[in-house]
Each structure stands twice: as structure tokens, then as C-alpha cells.
């Protein structure tokens, strides 16, 4: 099914007789995939409204992310949460859509400084599991009118409703951007250095570790060089320091971190862990991964593990959550992609799904 209007989506859902798989560009098949009819929102496409002076963009769910980014770039603006492109990591083709980004609450390295996709979401229009068209939020930056179903739908992976239109806050693009490298650090020193940088007034907008610590600074030219020199003073004792001052070279570094390129070649399972940054060094010890990448100052751990190994069993006492982002269908049959919830949270989630999708047809079992 490829409906072209919101009304068609509503009719398709209302008349569905069994489970429906909801798809944007089909580039992020995360979670258990159940055989069923597919409803693609790719034909619901286009930017409905863009007001640069109000920092707001409204787009239909199937709009390609690239189209939005190009439109914003013309006004020197951007999606500040830097959504990851999953295609290379997951080996998928297709066109990433804004609806898919929102459904997965997909963010990138800048999440540590400015917030996740959910923090930039202003409004949604969606079709629930009964085929009813609903809206929540709007297109203004401050809105506390009624419950925040916008956040509930963001990251719900299409299990509560089919997104048809989303409104997002955008931010200005900085004049320039640069990267500071602190070379050859142990995980313990790396997290300490990143915490020092993120806990400074120098507005670091990326803090990652791949053997070297990488710190991104963005803003006006003079500001960036000032902050780089302050950070160099602050972190010099951790190790040798160098800089990438060319904005394009710097952007490439961060795109590679965003898309987790260093893990792509490993033909094994890929996990994503969210932990308190200071837990990261101990977690790396516990999991003994083939390859890792730390982002968000250590709070986000990407890990490539041998196929079928249950990482969660190795980190039982660590607070946080782990998602199995890439694995074979056999592994996913044995190890749930999404982190198991406490009984009370699982019960709330199940009851919410029953309210929004009483027939349990939308991406059935995907987050289970």
C-alpha cells in the first residue's frame, strides 16, 4: 500500500484486516520484522511550511531527509540533532525519510549538546490503529496545551500510529566548525577528558572516542578559535593535541561518527548502549567487543559483537539500555532488539498500545 494522502492512510488502516508494517524509506529495519502487508508513507511527501524566521519546518512524513536538509541549507539552517543515516551500517538501500527519523527518534553526535530528535519535535499528525486521524502539538516552540503525545509518538517505531506529518524546530548553521583531537587515550582518560570538555563553558557540540578523543566546536570564526585554544589548555595534560580546522574535513569526521562507519565492516551484531558516561570504561571491559565507538561523551556506546552473543547478560548491573541494531533474523528471534522493561513500565506501554491500536496491527511485536 502506498497511499498518497492522509485520508488514504486512514482508510487503509481502517480497512486493514491483519498486521500492517509501516515503512518510510525502509532504510532502518530495526526490531523484529513480522511478515505482513506493508504500508509505505513514501508518497506522502513534501515540505508543507518552512519559516526560517520562526525556526520551524513542517513536512509530510515521507519527505526525504535530504530534501529537508537541502531546503534548510539554502537559508543557512539545519536539523541540529544531526540524524544518523543507517544505510551503510545496516546495508540497506532506499531514501531515508523524516517520518522514519521521527519514528526512530534518530539523532547524531550533536544530541549531547542540543538534544535528541524528540527535543526538536513540535507537532505530529498521525493515524491511529483504528484509522482515526489525530494531531498533537503544533508548529510553535513553546506549547504545553494538553498531553505531549508528540514525544510519545517520537521513537514509538510506528507502533502507536502512522505518522503523516511532523513539525520540527530547526537551528541556524554555524559560520564555521572545527575538531580538536586528543590522541591515544585509554577509555578512562577519554571519558574524563570528554566530561571535562562538556562540563566547560566552551560549548562543545560533539564528543566522541575511537582511540583518540574528538571534540567539535562550532560558531563564529573568532569564537571557534578562542574555544579551541581554551580547550587545548584544559585538556593538554591528557595527551598530544591536534586540530582539524577545515570545516569540510571536520564535517566528514563527524559524518563518519554519526553513521558509525568504523563498525560497518564488521560482519557481526551491532549494539547501541545508552549509559551514564562515567560507566562507559567499565562497560567496555565487561563486553570485550570486536570494535567500539563512543559518542555523546561516553554516554553512547556502539559495539560490534560476535553474532548471537547476548550483550545484556554481560552488563546486568549497569543502569541504561541496550538496543540490538543489527543482527540476523535468527539472533533477533533469540535476543530482543529492544531492552526489556521493568514489569510496571512494560504494562504501561502495553496498555498505551492497546488504546492507540486496539487490534494490535501497527508494526505488531516490533518493539517487544
Amino acid at each position: 500500500m502506498t497511499p498518497t494522502t492522509e485520508t488514504d492512510v486512514a482508510e487503509a488502516i481502517a480497512s486493514a484486516t491483519g498486521p500492517v508494517r509501516i515503512e518510510g524509506g525502509g532504510t532502518r529495519p530495526i526490531g523484529k520484522q513480522v511478515a505482513s502487508d506493508t504500508l509505505s508513507v513514501a508518497a506522502l511527501s513534501g515540505i508543507s511550511l518552512y519559516e526560517p524566521g520562526a525556526l520551524t519546518v513542517v513536512a509530510k512524513a515521507g519527505t526525504p531527509v535530504a530534501e529537508i536538509e537541502e531546503t534548510l541549507a539554502k537559508e543557512n539552517q539545519r536539523l541540529a540533532f544531526e540524524p544518523m543515516d543507517h544505510r551503510d551500517l545496516l546495508g540497506t538501500a532506499g531514501v531515508p525519510t523524516i517520518g522514519g527519523v521521527v519514528a526512530g527518534n534518530v539523532s547524531g553526535p550533536r544530541r549531547i549538546a542540543v538534544g535528541a530528535c524528540r527535543d526538536f519535535m513540535l507537532g505530529v499528525r498521525f493515524v491511529d490503529g483504528t484509522g482515526t486521524i489525530l494531531k498533537n502539538g503544533g508548529r510553535v516552540m513553546k506549547n504545553v496545551t494538553g498531553y505531549d503525545l508528540v514525544k510519545l509518538l517520537t521513537g514509538a517505531h510506528g507502533t502507536l500510529g502512522v505518522l503523516t506529518e511532523v513539525s520540527l524546530k530547526v537551528l541556524p548553521m554555524p559560520e564555521t566548525s572545527a575538531t580538536l583531537h586528543v590522541h591515544d587515550l585509554s577509555p578512562l582518560d577519554a571519558v574524563a577528558a570528554m566530561s571535562g570538555a562538556l562540563g566547560s563553558p566552551f560549548e562543545v557540540t560533539g564528543a566522541a572516542y575511537n582511540g583518540d578523543v574528538l571534540l567539535r566546536v562550532e560558531g563564529f570564526e573568532a569564537s571557534v578559535s578562542y574555544r579551541l585554544s581554551e580547550l587545548t589548555k584544559k585538556l593538554g595534560h591528557y595527551g598530544q593535541i591536534s586540530q582539524t580546522n577545515d570545516p569540510e574535513a571536520s564535517a566528514e569526521i563527524w559524518q563518519s561518527i554519526r553513521d558509525v562507519q568504523s563498525l560497518q565492516a564488521h560482519g557481526s551484531d551491532v549494539w547501541k548502549l545508552s549509559v551514564k558516561p562515567s560507566s562507559a570504561p567499565a562497560v567496555l571491559e565487561m563486553i570485550q567487543a570486536e570494535q567500539t565507538l563512543l559518542d555523546w561523551g561516553g554516554g553512547l556506546i556502539w559495539a560490534a559483537l560476535p553474532a548471537g552473543r547476548d550483550l545484556r547478560a554481560q552488563i546486568k548491573d549497569v543502569n541504561g539500555h541496550a538496543t540490538l541494531v543489527r543482527a540476523s533474523a535468527e539472533t533477533l528471534a533469540a535476543i530482543p532488539a529492544f531492552h526489556p522493561e521493568t514489569p510496571v513500565v512494560a504494562k504501561i506501554g502495553a496498555e498505551l498500545r492497546r488504546k492507540f491500536d486496539p487490534r494490535d496491527i501497527l508494526n505488531r511485536g516490533l518493539m517487544a
Partner: protein
């Protein structure tokens, strides 16, 4: 303002409810004397008052759980209360309710600078969260005007904002985890010191739910290092529309100030008479603040003033020192007090797309003429969150009703312009009956279905947020007294 009729079955068993509450709380934590409960009869929406049946002041999450379990078993409505500073009547009691105040729960539980969070009990005031970390040069970013008094519990309930949210976001963007007690007494942990939810974003759902889904007793909050410095520039214009265009140009130019505040002629004149801030004689005034090192501030301010000059300002006053900054902020910070000196007023909170600012201000002026009530406008212009202040005379028969009617018209105007009824104060009772102007019955049904999941009997703050006509069938009659 219509409120549901108190449930006679609940009122009839007051003695028994009090006895059961006393069995789970220390003696001084249960207030049932008719004179003493009057202290809880209203919040900052003082036009409406109703003493509760009982007030309780628990000190721990377990005590909150015990209270809610008792009330759940007895079918007694519970109205949670932070510091009682809601401007929307979010903590207004009903005569048959138990007020659950978290004021005694104000401990700091954990401070972690490397991971940049603080965990507090939610009765702690907003400003004292920053107070707990400022010796290490950290702060908690959301800064509602009432931050000296308002509690984190209420901030979470209303998803409170503040003047600096253009850069730092509102409560929901700075809240990492909560301990929450459900109406049946079950204690649930959501989120924590790590980022983002594993499953559904329940944290985002709870924040801003006006105390209707659970009682949040502990919160993990993001803390940040203070900027090196901050300084404002004051810009005076002779036309609201020009000031609005200037705001849009500043934002489009790629400078992201921490605050852009707007005051109109009535507010400028009134605050000038009250606080003598030395503001220029003009029709519209903007205060734009930026942060960073001294050199960074200078650079940003020079870009901003260059934009402002294109709009033919009456005056541009760039702060060069802490003293000059204080003088620029003095009038803005005195605005509400100054208006309060000359008149009773009602403060609205609608948000509009920034591009609609000139049209909305013009229309508010026309409504002011139609109703014969003066309106002052002072607001966060960067994010379109307006605070029109309607002046009225509380001693004049019918004036409050007239003022409320005009307020409703202004809020409808905000919705028509593409905005919303409330940007940071919440719906409470104040905007409850306007919800159908923003939402379809189905939209509201979806929200009420969420409450059904968390509180199936609709005992938690039941007569708020949704029009009474919409929630009537859900607000169940209490279990009859034995």
C-alpha cells in the same frame, strides 16, 4: 469557573479517610482542621478558591505511595501541589479532595558533575537546584519567573519554560529521569542518568501532564556549566511591527541569543513610572541577551545591532558592564509588579508563530478597544510565547468575567494564527474549556485515553486540563461509604 459538585460520599467519610492517612503518616503531616486547610485553598490563580477536605505533607516517596494507596482504596480525588505558584489553577483543590503537597521533600539526593546531572526530591525550588551546584559554576537551565518559589514538581507537571529557553529548552528538554508514584501507590522509575528512553518515551509524556498521570517525587535533572558571561542589548522602536521584523531578522541571521524579550508601550510607560529603569520613550522595546566570553559577546552584539540598525531604531543601548546589564533588565523584571501596582490584571500565555506577531498585536489592540479593557504586552519574542496582561478592576461587578471573556478571545486568536492556548503555564482550570478550540473531540479522546492507562478511576487532579463536559463520563463517582 465551573467545578464538579463535591462527592457527598467522600465528604461523609472524611473522618475515616483522615484516620487512615494518620495511620501512614507522621501526626504533623496530616492537616484536617477546617481553618488550617484554608492555607491550601488556592494557587497563584487567586480568583478561585476552595479549601480541600484534607491536606497531607509526606516526606518520602514511600509516604507518597502510602497516601495514594489509601486514597485509591477510598476513591478520594487527589490534587498534587508543588509550591502553589500555578497561574492556571493547576493546584486548585476541590472540596472533596486530598491535597498532596511535596513541600517537605526538598533534599538533594545526588550531584554528579562528570556526568552533568543532579537528582533531587521534587519539592525543592527551581532556584535552589541551581543553588546546590553554583559553587562549582554549574546551573539548572529552565528559569520560570517564579523560580524563587516554584517547585521542580510543578515545573515537571507544567513543563515550565522561562526567559532563556530559546537556547536551553524547557523542562522536558532538561529532565532525564523521574521516580513517580502511580495513583494505586505503585512506584515507577523512568529514565535516569543515561540519555533517551529504551522503549516508549514515557518521560516525555509525563512531563507536562499537569499531575494527572502520577506524582513525581524525585527527578534527575541535567546541569550545565555556566557561560563565561552574558550581556544584553536594548533596542527601542516606534512600531510593534518593526520590532517583530527585527526579531525574525536576528534569528534568520544565524545568531541564537539566549533570550529575546519584548515590551509594548503600556508596559514600557508603566514600568518606567514604577522602576525608573531609564527606558527610552518608544512604542516597542526588545531586550536581546547573548552569552560567551567578553570577545564573543562583543562579536554577537555587533552582529545583532547591525541588523537592528536596518530597522531604524529610536535607540540602541549595548551593555558594557554588569551594572548596565542590570539596568537594562530592571524594567523587564519589574513589569508584572509595575502593572500590579496600577491595576488588577490577568496574565495570558498563548504562543504564536513569530511571523504572526504584528497581526496578533494589532488584533489584540482592536479587542482592547472593543472590550474597553487595557492590555499590556510583555513576552518571550524569540519563541512566540506571548504574555498579554489584561487590566481589570476586581472590585467592579462583572469586570473579571469581561476580562476572562476577552482573554478567551485572545487565546482563540493565538490558535487561529497557528499557535496554541498555553506556552508554559499549563491548561489547569483556566484554559480547560477552550481545549475544543485547539483540538478535535478525537484529539482530546486520545489524550484522555492516556489518563485512563495511568489512572483508570480518574482520581488524580481529575477536573483539570479537559473540558468538564468531555471528562464527565470518566470522572467516576467515588466508592460509596460503608
Amino acid at each position: 469557573m465551573e467545578m464538579p459538585t463535591p462527592d457527598p460520599f467522600v465528604l461523609a467519610k472524611k473522618a475515616r479517610v483522615v484516620a487512615r492517612l494518620r495511620s501512614v503518616l507522621p501526626a504533623d503531616a496530616v492537616i484536617s482542621d477546617d481553618r488550617e486547610v484554608k492555607a491550601y485553598e488556592c494557587d497563584a490563580l487567586t480568583a478561585y478558591k476552595c479549601p480541600p477536605m484534607v491536606a497531607v505533607l509526606p516526606s518520602t516517596t514511600q509516604e507518597v505511595s502510602d497516601v495514594l494507596r489509601v486514597c485509591h482504596e477510598e476513591g478520594v480525588p487527589v490534587v498534587p501541589r508543588g509550591s502553589g505558584t500555578s497561574l492556571a489553577g493547576g493546584a486548585l483543590p476541590t472540596a472533596d479532595c486530598v491535597i498532596l503537597g511535596v513541600a517537605r521533600m526538598n533534599d538533594v539526593l545526588e550531584t554528579n558533575y562528570p556526568d552533568r546531572y543532579i537528582r533531587v526530591q521534587t519539592g525543592r525550588t527551581n532556584l535552589s537546584v541551581t543553588g546546590a551546584v553554583e559553587e562549582n559554576d554549574f546551573f539548572y537551565a529552565p528559569d520560570p519567573s517564579s523560580q524563587l518559589a516554584c517547585a521542580i514538581a510543578g515545573n515537571i507537571a507544567m513543563n515550565s519554560g522561562g526567559a532563556h529557553c530559546l537556547k536551553y529548552g524547557v523542562t522536558t528538554n532538561n529532565l532525564m529521569g523521574v521516580t513517580m508514584v502511580m495513583m494505586d501507590g505503585e512506584i515507577v522509575e523512568i529514565g535516569g542518568a543515561h540519555l533517551d528512553a529504551g522503549g516508549l518515551d514515557l518521560l516525555g509524556l509525563i512531563c507536562g501532564s499537569e499531575g494527572q498521570l502520577g506524582v513525581v517525587t524525585e527527578a534527575t535533572l541535567r546541569i550545565l556549566h555556566k557561560p563565561e558571561g552574558a550581556r544584553p542589548v536594548l533596542m527601542a522602536f516606534n512600531d510593534n511591527e518593526v520590532a517583530g521584523a527585527c526579531v525574525a531578522d536576528i534569528i534568520k541571521a544565524g545568531v541564537l541569543p539566549v533570550a529575546i524579550e519584548f515590551m509594548d508601550r503600556l508596559c514600557i510607560e508603566t514600568t518606567e513610572a514604577y522602576a525608573q529603569a531609564g527606558y527610552p520613550d518608544c512604542h516597542a522595546l526588545l531586550i536581546v541577551e547573548v552569552e560567551g566570553s567578553d570577545a564573543e559577546i562583543d562579536e554577537q552584539l555587533s552582529k545583532i545591532t547591525a541588523i537592528a540598525r536596518k530597522h531604524d531604531p529610536v535607540e540602541l543601548r549595548e551593555s558594557k558592564s554588569a551594572q548596565e546589564s542590570a539596568a537594562i533588565w530592571l524594567g523587564r523584571k519589574s513589569a508584572f509588579g509595575a502593572i500590579g501596582q496600577i491595576s488588577d490584571y490577568m496574565c495570558l500565555d498563548g504562543t504564536i508563530p513569530v511571523s504572526s506577531l504584528p497581526m496578533v498585536l494589532k488584533r489584540i489592540g482592536e479587542l482592547s478597544d472593543e472590550y474597553g479593557l487595557k492590555v499590556g504586552n510583555v513576552f518571550h519574542a524569540g519563541d512566540g510565547n506571548m504574555h498579554p496582561l489584561i487590566l481589570y478592576d476586581a472590585n467592579k461587578d462583572g469586570d473579571l468575567e469581561l476580562c476572562e471573556k476577552m482573554g478567551a478571545d485572545i487565546l482563540r486568536l493565538c490558535v487561529e494564527a497557528g499557535g496554541c492556548l498555553t506556552g508554559e503555564h499549563g491548561v489547569g482550570i483556566e484554559k480547560r474549556d477552550l481545549m475544543f478550540d485547539q483540538f478535535t473531540p478525537q484529539d482530546l479522546e486520545a489524550q484522555m485515553a492516556v489518563k485512563d492507562v495511568f489512572d483508570p478511576q480518574w482520581l488524580l487532579n481529575p477536573s483539570k486540563v479537559f473540558p468538564l463536559s468531555a471528562s464527565q463520563s470518566r470522572r467516576a463517582p467515588a466508592i460509596a461509604a460503608e
